[in-house]
Amino acid sequence: MIRFKSIISRIVILHVIAVAVTSVLMSVALSWLLSVATNNIHNEAMGEQAVSLAGHLALKADGSFSLDLPPSLQGLYSQPYGRYSYAVVDDTGKTLFSSLKDKAPVFAADPRVSTVQFLETRIGDAAISGASIRRIIGGKTVWVQAAEDLANRDVLIDDIVEDFYKHVGWITLPILLVLLVIDIAIFRRALLPLRQASETAQQIGPARTDIRLPLDEIPGEVRPLVSAINKALDRLDEGFRLQREFTADAAHELRTPLSILRTRVETLDDPRIAKALHLDIEAMSRVVGQLLDIAELEAFAIDPQETADLQAASAEVAGFVAPLALEQGREIALLGATTPVWIKGNAEMIKRAIRNLAENAIRHAPKNTVVEFVVEENGTVTVQDRGPGITEEERELIFRRFWRRDRNHQGSSGLGLSIVQRIAELHDAKIEVENRVMGGAQFSLHFTPCAAPDTRGT
């Protein structure tokens, strides 16, 4: 079975085959019809000749027949002309008259045959075809035969047949080809709404789940498919919506009790217990926050048009984590680019990624060291620390959810880097993990740089 890539190619190929078959069949049919028609003309002519010959046949007083042909007819049947021949046969099978040399009948006549008969025979090499009619003259029955040598058939008829193939026969092919072109045009027109629907479908993505394919112009045959696709999109959209709602609901249900807990702890009388509980709540809140981040990221899609200033995002995160870092005896520094570095992506997500890298670095950096953010013009941000670094074996593990080097390590949920990885994935950004020459780890995120957004617009 041939596999077709498109409906059009299927139509063209099948149509070409149909054209080929039709033109052959048509030629055969036409030539058959034509030969039938010419045979009829010939037979009719032969019949008429026999009738005309019979008109010249007369019964003499002695009971024998006389055939008195006018000279024009004699010439027609003359031996030298050789094209036509005649014979008259009586009911005993005896040849009364014949234009042939040996006075033989043209056709071996069967006395019992009906009035008119069309016969064919061969005399020598010549194919002879003609008619035999029965006549009763003066009570005696005779058969008058008139025949034509087919080799000398009427030139006019042959010309017509030949002409037919030359001019009429060949015209069927172009007509069929024109029909093919028209068919293709019709189909292309009919498929236009489908092509438009495909273009609409192109825009559908996680960021635009609201688009549906237009049904108005779609041909009835394809409509079930298109509406099924729309329904599938509805279900996907619903899925995304539920996921987002879940995240919002879960956030509320988890964070409100934490708030209560935290506020209760703040009013405790014993400051030592309060402080310890406070740290626990902090850690718990962090995990909840990160889990919610992950849930949100699952249903998050970036608008491809979105751009962000990586320098500003890094500066904001650096500023955000600095108080906490200082409190824990680590310093923060932002190096590299000092002017906007525009990249493709969602600023809020990018900040989250950098923040998670920063919190990770702060946690691993020894006291009185600097955690550095380096922003490069090519859309790269690097967060580096002076911690223990990352061993070769750990490089894959660190991005796993809930993976921690030290499972007893306070304040780490093991989710931070998996969030970073997910955000990087969403942005088609590459994550690079390296150990620094003087010790410590460095994480780089390579984003796609882009032109500064048009600030004249909104």
Partner: protein
């Protein structure tokens, strides 16, 4: 000073009220958007603490209505949703500040005070860090109850840093604050003033430290022992 807390969780709401009353505020509690709408039509508060997830509607719509009436009462939004879109839409709807649950009561009070101290708002007292005090009305720095003589620019830097306690102030913000739009500023001007301020404070025995966050800005914090 009377505050309105709109929060549907009764426990949290009671705890908030308790904390705020301890901090010296009078507090009214409401649990639904409908109640809040009705009350806000007739009563005005010094500030409103608004939870976004209310049982009968989105807290943001209350905020929008308030701002639509040209009511500029400071509104501090509480939300469980730390999601980016939520944060943006909250601030766009006219929230003055935004806190994601779970928050520290202490921080809530601090942020509330920051809002109330803004020009046109009701609180006009002073800011404290360790033994350093800054009187916002007289713009006077006080260390261990001793008024200090600082230049006007040093005072401006100190005020900005203390107003932003716990947060990093960018170099650009300091620049804008002390020089405004007045022409060229020497590239190291901010460093010079911060350096002088730092020296003054340590000479006078203030137990605070002005940290430089390289590439980002400055942060004032209590000196660590």
């Amino acid at each position: 000073m009377r505050l309105l807390v709109i929060e549907d969780n009764a426990t949290l709401s009671e705890l908030l009220a308790k904390g705020l009353r301890t901090a010296g505020y009078e507090v009214d509690l409401l649990a639904t958007a409908a109640e809040a709408r009705a009350v806000l039509m007739t009563t005005s508060y010094a500030a409103i603490i608004l939870d976004l997830g209310l049982p009968d509607g989105d807290g943001l719509s209350i905020l929008r209505e308030l701002r639509h009436r040209k009511d500029s009462t400071p509104v501090l939004v509480l939300t469980a949703r730390g999601g980016l879109q939520d944060r943006v839409s909250g601030l766009r709807s006219g929230a003055d500040d935004y806190m994601v649950k779970p928050f520290a009561l202490e921080e809530l009070v601090a942020r509330l005070e920051a809002q109330l101290r803004r020009p046109g708002q009701q609180l006009g007292s002073s800011l404290h860090i360790a033994n350093l005090e800054f009187d916002l009305r007289s713009r006077q720095a006080v260390i261990d109850d001793q008024p200090q003589m600082l230049s006007s620019r040093e005072t401006a830097v100190l005020e900005l840093l203390m107003r932003s306690k716990g947060r990093v102030v960018s170099k650009k913000q300091v620049e804008d604050h002390i020089f405004g739009l007045s022409g060229d500023v020497a590239s190291n001007a901010v460093e010079v003033y911060v350096h002088r301020l730092r020296k003054q404070l340590s000479d006078k025995g203030a137990k605070v430290q002005i940290h430089t966050i390289r590439g980002v800005g400055y942060l004032i914090a209590e000196e660590k022992a």
